[in-house]
């Protein structure tokens, strides 16, 4: 870092008298004593990388949801009381419907900017959950969940779950035919609970489905309970982020012991604050130009009607897919009914999936035995097993998502619905392991490629012909910064386990568990490619010198590879590569 900061030179170095801002700060500090923490936080450093922006999309979508949600709540009536619609939308006039549906129509057609706010609210919800999911994938694949950040990983997972529940509660509120069908399915899911199913359903709906309670109850959950939890957990998530300081990519001068980047004030305040307006602006354009959830086309809820091609919001797609591909297993015994066909995909599988995701940092830590703090991110290729797990998980997600739209796939691509379903039943078990293997091998070959570049240099694209007519491609060494970046990672160490018995022949406790751990550790690391050692690098450079000697007779004709690409003027250049 040089110290040649340039200013326009028109301002004096220090202000002549205290500024009004200083006066306000003084007033506040005398009452709140915030200067002690503010002195560190005002210029707090955040590292820069495009992927760190994903969490901001989620955060700002949440703020937009709060703003547009307050607007909507001013007109929405969370009631299932029956009214006759008499508003502006001609096609539904005179029809019996719930107050919730009527007020949603009212917001859409009789409140100016109401439709815009409704659509912005729905688009922002889609964006909120999508951004959380992609952010979570980024954190996973770069190893940002490792110690000391495991708790923040769990908070994030719970935020995603709450976001999905919040979204479901929200899109159920208009009480239209589509959302009512979603509630009917939720009712079926609940009834499949062993022993308590029908009681849970009656308590939730305040009687038999659909009852007249569910909309007001979902409204309380949607505007008070879940947003409160979300807000508290987001606050905790961000406090921990500030405390741990953001992770960063390794590079020259960027180590485990520091964080390099721009200060919060002013650069990140401007960048993140500006980004809020960009997300907000994009959501506003989407709300204005892209129709979403046109409830007026669906009509009021009627339990005897349904539309073909009914689809939930995208984030419910995997639950829908699980429900669709599950075989129809039911047990009838001793006067009871156990519907595995609904209970397993509807309740057990989603919770198991979430449990695995939340427990993941601890599972990995146990297998690798790595209990150190990590603040540098890992390139996906340098953790082949972890990256392959993500690839397999994404595959499961994608397959279930496709399965959740099997009817749409069948009608759009003229495929047989039953074949798609049978295919998915097998694919969900067969394809993810295959993807795992491919992704892992792919990572390892990318690691090999990195090592090749370190040892032999990068391919310059310059082809040399020697006196005997042989052709070789000239390799040029990497820049020091680039080479350092490639080697700035840990060497993997396979855990070999404790020995079976001590010197007195007493078997060590938990040997069997420990052996499993050692085997897993071997599977985790053993095939990884490690970065070259100093000796190997030196040998590689020595080899390069030999190559140079081989090229020496061609010296006058050798080229540095830049004479045709216009990068620099070659007049008077001897066109040789200088080592």
């Amino acid at each position: 870092m040089t110290t040649t900061a340039s200013t326009n030179g028109t301002k004096p170095a220090a202000a002549a008298k205290p500024s009004p801002a200083a006066g306000i700060a003084n007033w506040a500090d005398e009452r709140l004593g915030i200067a002690t923490s503010a002195k560190k936080q005002i210029r707090k450093v955040f590292p820069d990388h495009w992927s760190f922006m994903l969490c901001e999309i989620a955060l700002w979508s949440f703020v937009i949801l709060l703003l547009t949600g307050v607007f909507l709540s001013l007109w929405f009536t969370p009631s299932m009381g029956e009214v006759v619609y008499n508003g502006s939308y001609n096609q539904l006039r005179g029809i019996h419907m719930s107050e919730a549906y009527a007020s949603t129509l009212n917001i859409s057609f009789d409140v100016r900017a109401g439709l815009l706010m409704r659509q912005m609210h729905h688009w922002a919800a889609m964006l909120f959950i999508a951004a959380m999911l992609v952010h979570m994938m980024r954190v996973f694949v770069t190893g940002a969940f490792r110690k000391p950040r495991e708790l923040n990983w769990i908070i994030g997972g719970v935020l995603l779950l709450l976001g999905i529940l919040e979204g479901f509660a929200g899109y159920s509120l208009p009480d239209d035919l589509l959302s009512g069908t979603g509630l009917r399915i939720a009712d079926g899911l609940m009834k499949a609970t062993p022993v308590l199913g029908s009681y849970m359903s009656f308590f939730m709906f305040g009687g038999e489905f659909p009852g007249d309670q569910i909309i007001p109850r979902l409204y309380t959950a949607h505007v008070l309970l879940i947003p409160g939890l979300l807000l508290a957990l987001i606050a905790a998530h961000m406090l921990l982020l500030v405390y741990h300081k953001h992770t960063q990519w390794p590079g020259p001068g960027r180590t485990e012991q520091n964080v390099v980047g721009y200060p919060m004030m002013p650069v990140y305040a401007a960048k993140a604050g500006g980004f809020f307006f960009i997300v907000f602006g994009v959501v506003a354009l989407m709300g204005g130009l892209m129709t979403i959830n046109p409830v007026w086309r669906f009509g009021p809820y009627n339990p005897a009607q349904v539309t073909a091609g009914s689809q939930p919001d995208w984030y419910m797609g995997i639950a829908e897919g699980l429900l669709r591909i599950m075989p129809g297993w039911e047990t009838h015994i001793w006067g009871i009914t156990m519907s595995w066909n609904v209970f397993l995909p509807g309740q057990v599988a989603p919770m198991a999936l979430l449990g695995i995701v939340l427990a993941y940092p601890f599972l990995e830590q146990w297998i690798t035995g790595d209990k150190r703090e990590h603040h540098l991110l890992v390139r996906p290729r340098d953790a082949p097993t972890r990256t392959a797990i993500l690839a397999a998980m994404v595959t499961v997600y994608g397959l279930l998502w496709a399965a959740g739209g099997n009817d749409i796939l069948a009608t759009q691509f003229h495929l047989d619905l039953n074949t798609i379903t049978y295919f998915m039943r097998g694919a969900i078990f067969i394809v993810p392991p295959l993807v795992f293997i491919v992704a892992k091998r792919w990572c390892i070959s990318l690691q090999r490629h990195d090592n090749d570049m370190l040892l032999h240099g990068y391919e310059s694209g310059v082809i040399m012909r020697d006196a005997l007519g042989g052709y070789t491609e000239k390799h040029l060494p990497l820049s020091e910064d680039h080479a350092y970046k490639l080697t700035a990672r840990d060497r993997d160490v396979v855990y070999t386990g404790i020995t079976g018995a001590d010197s007195n022949g007493v078997p060590a406790p938990n040997v069997r568990v420990d052996q499993i751990r050692a085997k897993l550790s071997k599977a985790w690391f053993a095939t990884n490619v490690q970065k070259p050692t100093r000796a190997e690098l030196d040998e590689g450079h020595h080899h390069a010198e030999l190559e140079h000697e081989h090229d020496a007779p061609l010296e006058d004709h050798a080229a540095d590879g830049h004479q045709f690409d216009g990068r620099h003027d070659v007049t008077g250049d001897d066109l040789t590569h200088k080592h």
């Binding site: 870092m1 040649t4 450093v45 299932m80 502006s88 009789d110 900017a113 439709l115 815009l116 399915i185 009712d187 009834k191 359903s201 308590f203 009687g207 038999e208 300081k245 020259p252 001068g253 964080v259 390099v260 401007a270 960048k271 604050g273 500006g274 809020f276 307006f277 907000f280 959501v283 354009l285 204005g288 130009l289 009627n302 339990p303 005897a304 349904v306 073909a308 091609g309 669709r324 591909i325 129809g328 039911e330 006067g335 009914t337 519907s339 609904v342 509807g346 790595d370 009817d407 379903t421 910064d481 350092y484 080697t487 060497r491 160490v493 396979v494 855990y495 490619v529 490690q530 050692t533």
Partner: protein, 350 residues
């Protein structure tokens, strides 16, 4: 290089950085941007940022103009299938916000100091002496409370806390009534007419053609009492509809494989519950040639010619059949209620 080192039990995990093959070259030198060295570029960037901010105010005003100038409600599809008001408001608001956002980011990238700053990290854990002091304080607190010496106090407090859970659960009892046998019964009963679900029209066997499917409901949904009030309305109507909705299909009597099922019909007309036995969607996709009925939600498929048994999909049970006959006036009527619960499965269903 290709095989990782192996260590014993003492040092699991990763080898600590002992000898890096390449030493850290340190932070790269800061390169000035055009706006740092060229006053012209700097002034241009300043103008760009200010213009964006001014443009934003223009769009904010235009939003207000559009709010008052454009009518809503009458026709929601003026422009690209959407209301003119919605499009104009969304575009103005979006552009007003985007201009501020883009302006702020341009400001930070071109004009704010872009020297990177280094901040040092500390371990997430507290310093060792703090930990010792905190533990000592905790011990002192526990010791002062005497909670370890007085198990009776401790255990009775734990018991009291556990019992407080009871009021919390019991207080929620009135969330809803107990299910009783409500899920096992519908409004269908002997001699109730089966009518069209749209207009309540009564149906004679000769009204139905071979292969036809009719969405039907019990006549009570369209009946009125002495004061002209509907017999069933509001929430009760929706609740009963969610169980009593049926479909009528007419097949060639010879096509009906299940003889028991045929006996519950009239001249090849059979009546089944419309509520899927999977999770309760109303089923209505009828494949006339194969006599298959498909649920649009999760694609469970039932063969209506064979007692509506499941031939595909996630449903676990056949659709319940409503036994029907014709009454003295020749209209289709129920012989009784369904003989088994309709809709999704539940534990005590049997």
């Amino acid at each position: 290089m290709t095989t990782p080192d192996t260590h014993g039990a003492g040092e699991p995990g990763h080898e600590l950085v002992a000898a890096e093959p390449i030493a850290d070259p340190g932070l790269p030198e800061h390169l000035p941007r055009p706006t740092d060295i060229d006053p012209k570029a700097e002034r241009r960037a300043e103008r760009q940022v200010a213009s964006l901010f001014m443009l934003s105010s223009v769009f904010a005003v235009l939003f207000c103009v559009a709010y008052f100038a454009l009518k809503i409600g009458k026709d929601p599809s003026v422009f690209l299938g959407m209301g003119a008001s919605n499009v104009a408001l969304g575009a103005c608001l979006g552009l007003a916000l985007l201009c501020i956002g883009v302006g702020a980011i341009q400001w930070s990238r071109k004009l704010m100091n872009d020297h990177e700053i280094v901040e040092y990290r500390h371990s997430a854990a507290s310093p060792e002496e703090d930990r010792v002091e905190a533990l000592a304080a905790l011990d002192a607190g526990i010791e002062d409370s005497g909670i370890g010496r007085r198990p009776l106090v401790r255990n009775s407090l734990l018991g009291a806390m556990a019992f407080l859970g009871l009021p919390a659960i019991v207080a929620l009892r009135d969330l809803g009534p107990l299910p009783g046998d409500k899920l096992a019964h519908t409004v269908w009963k002997k001699n109730m007419r089966v009518v069209q679900d749209v207009d309540g029209a009564q149906i004679k066997p000769e009204d139905m053609e071979i292969g036809q499917l009719v969405n039907a409901e019990p006549q009570i949904f369209f009946a009125t009492n002495a004061e002209g009030e509907p017999e069933v309305e509001g929430t009760a109507l929706l609740q009963e509809k969610a169980k009593a909705a049926v479909i009528l299909v007419r097949m060639l009597p010879d096509d009906i494989k299940d003889k028991h099922s045929a006996n519950w019909g009239v001249e090849g007309i059979l009546c089944f519950s419309k509520i899927c036995t999977h999770v309760g969607c109303p089923i209505s996709l009828w494949e006339q040639q194969t006599h298959h009925l498909l649920c649009p939600c999760h694609q469970s498929t039932f063969d209506l010619a064979d007692g509506a048994k499941v031939i595909f999909g996630p449903a676990g049970r056949h659709l319940p059949q409503l036994p029907i006959t014709v009454d003295a006036d020749g209209y289709l009527v129920a012989q009784s209620d369904f003989t088994e619960p309709v809709g999704p499965s539940y534990w005590e269903r049997g």
